[in-house]
């Protein structure tokens, strides 16, 4: 059963449309929405993700497809047939491209195609019940292959980005710290030099001063 549906632009993660009254019977819909947003952000960073993917999260699964720089994502129960979920997304994709295809690139505000929610709503209802004749026949349709679609865990997916972030952070910290180290080393060097030669210089100075004073007085 479809719980959430979201459509976003891949380049910048800008949300384009969302299902109407999504998450009505979900207790922690907000958390899942946050996860979806994090996922979109990940995608927009350009990690090379597969164009079709399932991501498990708690009792649910996110299914998404990326097509024409738009990501169509839905969240279903784990028990919901994967095949139907992807068929659902395909339906959305086809309609969305047909209606808004030309303006996707130029959309400038969030939820620019919010009007699409009525279609999402309608389509969702068609897929609500897995036992309807229509859906059963779709399930049996072998044309649509979903076996090779990868399934991963949400922590993993979000984690990848996190880890990468960590690595890059670490490396940048490393560079900056090594630079600091070099500076400090140079400084220490200089200090050592001073410490080494300062007494000699002082003694010599005093001696010369004495000589000079002597020469001046006498």
């Amino acid at each position: 059963m479809v719980k959430l549906t979201m459509i976003a632009r891949v380049i910048d993660g800008l949300p384009l449309a969302e299902g109407l009254d999504d998450g009505r019977d979900l207790t922690d819909a907000e958390m899942y929405k946050q996860q979806v947003k994090a996922l979109f952000k990940n995608l927009s960073k350009g990690h090379n993700e597969a164009s079709r993917m399932s991501v498990e999260t708690g009792p649910y699964v996110f299914h998404y497809i990326i097509e024409g720089r738009v990501c169509y994502l839905t969240m279903c129960d784990r028990s919901y047939p994967k095949k139907l979920a992807f068929q659902y997304l395909e339906d959305l994709k086809n309609e969305f491209e047909r209606v808004n295809g030309a303006q996707i690139e130029t959309a400038a505000r969030p939820y620019a195609f919010i009007k699409f929610d009525t279609f999402i709503q309608k389509t969702k209802k068609l897929y609500q019940d897995t036992r309807t004749q229509r859906n059963i026949s779709k399930l049996n349709d072998e044309l649509y292959e979903v076996h090779q679609i990868m399934t991963r865990n949400v922590q993993e997916v979000l984690g990848v980005g996190e880890k990468l972030d960590q690595v890059s952070q670490m490396s940048s910290r490393l560079t900056s710290e090594s630079r600091i180290y070099a500076d400090k080393a140079r400084d220490l060097n200089r200090q050592a030099l001073i410490r080494k030669w300062a007494p000699v210089a002082i003694v010599l100075g005093v001696v010369f001063l004495l000589f000079w004073v002597k020469a001046k007085l006498w």
Partner: protein, 1028 residues
């Protein structure tokens, strides 16, 4: 000094009335308006150098002195003084203005090097010879002949204050009239109504002759050539004094001359023991022009948002707390964030998704025209908190030589006080919601009988096409009596399915979907439903009403999306939670401490429900129809805290009130509505918003939650100053509304306004805005009725007005002996009339018998939300005589301007030969005079013109007169479409209907235990004078 135009532009820096204290008061006008001639004889220069026309004109009588004495020819006309006809008045100006007068002065200027030397004696003259009584005040201005110019400038200024200022013929001082007139002969000529034009002048001239040496001595001794003028003028004063001796208590009206420049005044001779009230009601100030938006404010700061969005009670913001505490008219503002824009003035919409919206880091102010860019355009300074912010790279633009951004022309947000930003994702918790309308309709027997259901169903059906937000609009219905009926409107159904839930204690929603449907998809089902709704319940005999459970059910259906809930309630809720008792019938509660409880919601259900509804972005509009008590106080609470409004149609009958309901419901459904909105008002440093008044829920200390908001809602806020002194010259206000437009866009509407900081109380009074003040007063008073007795609310209102006027009087009482004149600033000339109107308005008036409790509460809820303009119209409705227009043979032209002459609301305005329309913005009362020609009535009402008028419904008949009347009504309705005025017909003398409909609304009349306008003024005046 609203009248001095030259002084206006530099007004923020304008010297406070310090001059009053130091220099003779009479000088100020010149020093302020004419900065140059401080040297020898500032006072004379205007005359010699031919000042502005009005000035010169006024000089007529002020300057006559010079010609009289210095230039004999000029004096000619004057010599024949005693009988000189009015023409002489006309001749006077040419004679005196020209240079003849000048020579004598010019030497003066050189002779007396320091003006201060020559001056004091002049100003001291008056008191010396006749300092005995207040009359000397009268003398002083006329004697010195300097002060006149200010008066002249008054004349040149706004016309309206002429009337109030000089309340003419009245028995109490008619005796003195002839002598008083001289000070302002220029005036009668302008005021056509009063016909004493010629008389005053001769009187004046008469007084020229015998120059009393006493008064002139100081002058003559000091100024040889100049002496005569004062003599003459002085004699004038003397003379008038002599005559004034008789009406011993007559007020020193002459004193007004020097004052008028600063304030308007009203002569009130409070003769002890006299029956005559001492002032003529015809001349009292009346707000016959309706609401006047403050213009000086916008002129001063052209980049401010239009006053229709934001108005301050005074445009001069006090600089310190102590000053603010002396301003008794409450410091505050009225915000109407979505006020309707006239055609072609839509706000610019700006999209900064890519750059992000520029806001101050600290106070979160939005970028606006008053921010300043510095550091070659890399930084900007917030105008509210003065923090220096970085300009983001995308927003950067170089500054030109004058420090303006070179791209200023392309940045509407830096040019206009009102703009809309497209909100980025950070400003939304969820995708923009679709417009959603949910209807909760009472179908119990009384609703069926009144025909309400039919009208509602028809109206909704006719509005389906115009509901905003196509194609996303959602719609749903629930009906209820003792059970709750849900309707499945699934688009695939041929007709709606009804599901009945009778378990009121544990409400559940029988269907997960399809109770709330997309209108464009389920259009046919919705139409079928609406067509069949009236007939479905026509035989219903259920008398119960499960209102509370029904609201809960609607809440459950709507809670996912939010939206607008329209409740049509016809009886007192009698079943389930939220059932109400017949508590409002209790006469005994009035006058006791428990009185206000009747105006508060009963129990906690309604408040709690309202809080829940707001939380889920549901706004409620309550339509109540009952002829009996329905406890609007409780029902209205739902609307009050959800940003909605209450419509009340007492004793609804579809045949009579159907049209009104139809229009108002249609307006409610089709007007542009903002959804899931929040509003915040930011003020400059040192100023704080202390309380908010209107229909909304406060989410945090300063965030107003408004589930739905539209152009007919205004919110008032009270401001207070913090300890510190305001050091800046200007202070800024920003009202921001974040909302979802019906088209599905999330927007931020920003209104910015600047106001000058003033250090002088007088300036605050000058900049006062009566409309905003009363909008705030009205809300405060209504809120007061919820915690106190009506009496107390009225008294506190009166006390505020008295305090304000007293404070104002104190400002000027030191310099001017005011005697028994009532003074007020020109900007507040309607303070008293609106004050009276407010205390006689439905929510505040009288006691138990004067208005039904429901009516009172409904009016209270309505007035809490009304924008300024509609409120003022409701407070002081217009009364228009139309029979002349109807009878005029060739009035094909649409000269409505001429007809729309508003009359004062007194019974005297009604002529029994006339036909009048009374329009308060909510209804029309058409009054047929007893002696109105029957033809007119026949033409307008058709054959049954002689019948009982309450049964007649005004329709258009096939004759010119009827068509004209309809045109007038249409025109009047167009001026404010937020409510529909239903015409009530009444004939003169038809009691008690006439009394209820019209006479009780003639607020200036004495009615029952309430005071009339004149009494009210006298009462206020007496209180003002106490303790001064």
């Amino acid at each position: 000094m609203g009248t001095e135009n030259p002084g206006r532009p530099n007004f923020p820096m304008r010297p406070p009335p310090g001059p009053f204290a130091s220099a003779p008061p009479t000088m100020t006008p010149f020093s302020s308006s004419r900065p140059t001639p401080p040297s020898a004889y500032p006072t004379m220069t205007p005359f010699s150098s031919a000042g502005p026309r009005p000035l010169a004109r006024f000089g007529d009588q002020s300057v006559p002195p010079p010609p009289v004495t210095s230039v004999p020819p000029a004096g000619g006309p004057y010599q024949q003084f005693p009988t000189s006809p009015s023409p002489s008045t006309a001749q006077a100006p040419p004679i005196r203005a020209p240079p003849q007068g000048q020579p004598p002065f010019q030497p003066r200027a050189s002779q007396v090097s320091a003006s201060s030397v020559s001056f004091p004696p002049q100003s001291q003259v008056p008191p010396v010879p006749m300092g005995s009584s207040p009359q000397s005040v009268n003398f002083s201005p006329s004697g010195v002949n300097v002060p006149q110019p200010p008066t002249g400038s008054l004349f040149s200024g706004p016309r309206p204050n002429i009337q109030p200022t000089f309340s003419p013929p009245d028995s109490s001082y008619s005796a003195a009239k002839s002598t008083f007139q001289p000070p302002f002969p220029g005036y009668p000529s302008k005021k056509s109504a009063v016909s004493q034009t010629p008389s005053p002048f001769p009187a004046q001239q008469g007084s020229f002759m015998p120059p009393p040496p006493a008064s002139s001595s100081p002058f003559s001794s000091q100024q040889g050539s100049y002496a005569p003028p004062p003599l003459v003028a002085a004699s004038l004063g003397y003379q008038s004094r002599g005559q004034m001796q008789h009406p011993s208590s007559a007020p020193p009206i002459g004193g007004i001359q020097s004052l008028t420049e600063d304030f308007s005044s009203l002569s009130l001779a409070s003769l002890p023991g006299s029956i005559d009230p001492g002032c003529d009601h015809r001349t009292l100030p009346r707000p016959l022009d309706g609401d006047v938006e403050p213009s000086s404010f916008t002129k001063m700061y052209p980049m401010n948002c239009n006053p229709r969005y934001l108005r301050l009670t005074t445009s001069g913001v006090p600089s310190s707390q102590s000053l603010a505490s002396r301003w008794h008219l409450t410091l505050g503002a009225v915000v109407c964030p979505l006020a309707e824009d006239p055609e072609g003035e839509e706000l610019p919409v700006i999209n900064y998704i890519s750059t992000g919206i520029i806001r101050c880091r600290r106070c979160r102010t939005y970028v606006n025209p008053y921010v300043t860019f510095t550091d070659a355009g890399r930084k900007w300074r917030c105008n509210i908190c003065a923090l220096l912010n970085d300009v983001p790279g995308d927003y950067f633009a170089n500054l030109d030589a004058t420090g303006r951004r070179i791209d200023l022309d392309q940045r509407p947000e830096l040019l206009k006080g009102s703009v809309e930003f497209v909100a980025p994702t950070d400003y939304m918790n969820r995708p923009p919601m679709p417009p959603l309308y949910f209807f909760l309709i009472d179908v119990s027997i009384s609703a069926v009988r009144s025909g309400m259901i039919g009208v509602v169903a028809q109206t909704i059906r006719s509005c389906l096409d115009e509901l905003p937000g196509f194609p996303r609009t959602q719609i749903g219905f629930i009906t209820y009596d003792s059970t709750i009926h849900f309707y499945n409107m699934k688009s695939s159904l041929a007709q709606p399915q009804m599901m009945v839930v009778s378990d009121l204690d544990d409400i559940f929603v029988p269907l997960p979907d399809d109770l709330l449907v997309n209108l464009s998809e389920s259009r046919t089902v919705v139409e079928t439903f609406l067509d069949s709704l009236p007939s479905m319940f026509q035989d219903n005999v259920n008398v119960e009403s499960a209102f509370g459970p029904a609201v809960k059910a609607a809440f459950m259906v709507m809670s996912q999306l939010g939206g607008k809930l329209l409740i049509f309630q016809n009886t007192l809720p009698s079943l389930g939670v939220g059932r109400l008792k017949l508590r409002g019938d209790d006469l005994r509660a009035y006058g006791t401490d428990k009185e206000h409880l009747l105006r508060l919601p009963e129990g906690s259900f309604y408040k709690q429900m309202a809080a829940d509804l707001t939380k889920y972005q549901i706004g409620v509009n309550v339509y109540a129809f009952s002829d009996k008590y329905t406890d609007i106080a409780s029902l209205g609470t739902l609307a009050k805290y959800t940003g909605g409004q209450v419509y009340y149609y007492p004793n609804f009958q579809s045949s009579i009130h159907g049209e009104k309901l139809r229009h108002e419901l249609a307006r409610d459904l089709t007007r542009e509505t903002a959804w899931e909105a929040v509003m915040r008002i930011r003020c400059g440093k040192g100023i704080r918003c202390t309380s908010y008044h209107g229909n909304f829920m406060l989410r945090s200390t300063d965030l107003l939650a408004l589930p739905t908001v539209d152009c007919d809602k205004a919110y008032a806020v009270q401001l207070s100053l913090e300890e510190t002194l305001l050091t800046t010259q200007t202070v800024y206000f920003q009202a921001v509304l974040l909302y979802t437009a019906s088209c599905g866009e999330r927007r931020i509407r920003v209104h910015t306004a600047a106001a000058p900081v003033v250090t002088d109380l007088g300036e605050m009074y000058r900049q006062a805005d009566t409309g905003a003040i009363f909008s705030l007063f009205c809300r405060l008073a209504i809120e007061k009725t919820l915690t106190n007795k009506l009496e107390d609310a009225r008294n506190s209102l009166q006390l505020r007005i008295v305090k304000a006027l007293r404070e104002y009087r104190n400002l000027y009482a030191v310099q001017h002996r005011l005697g028994s004149r009532m003074i007020y600033p020109d900007s507040l000339k309607f303070l008293c009339s609106y004050g009276l109107a407010l205390s006689k308005s439905v929510p505040l008036k009288g006691g138990y018998a004067d208005a039904q409790l429901d009516e009172r509460c409904a009016a209270g809820f309505t007035m809490m939300a009304l924008p300024v303009k509609s409120l003022l119209k409701l407070l002081y409705p217009s009364l228009i005589r139309i029979d002349e227009y109807l009878l005029k043979p060739s009035a094909q032209t649409e000269d409505f301007k001429n007809i729309m002459k508003r009359l004062p609301l007194v019974a005297e305005s009604l002529d029994s030969r006339g036909l009048y329309i009374y329009d308060d913005g909510f209804r029309f009362v058409i009054w047929f005079g007893r002696m109105l020609s029957p033809d007119v009535a026949k033409n307008l009402l058709g054959e049954d013109f002689a019948a009982e008028l309450s049964k007649v419904i005004l329709t258009e008949h096939d004759n010119e007169m009827s068509r004209r009347l309809m045109r007038i009504l249409k025109k009047l309705r167009e001026s404010d479409p937020s409510y529909y005025q239903l015409p009530y017909l009444v004939r003169q003398g038809e009691q008690p209907k006439e009394g209820l409909l019209l006479l009780v609304n003639l607020i200036e009349d004495q009615m029952g235990g309430t005071s009339g306008y004149v009494d009210w003024i006298m009462q206020i005046h007496r209180q003002v004078q106490q303790n001064t």
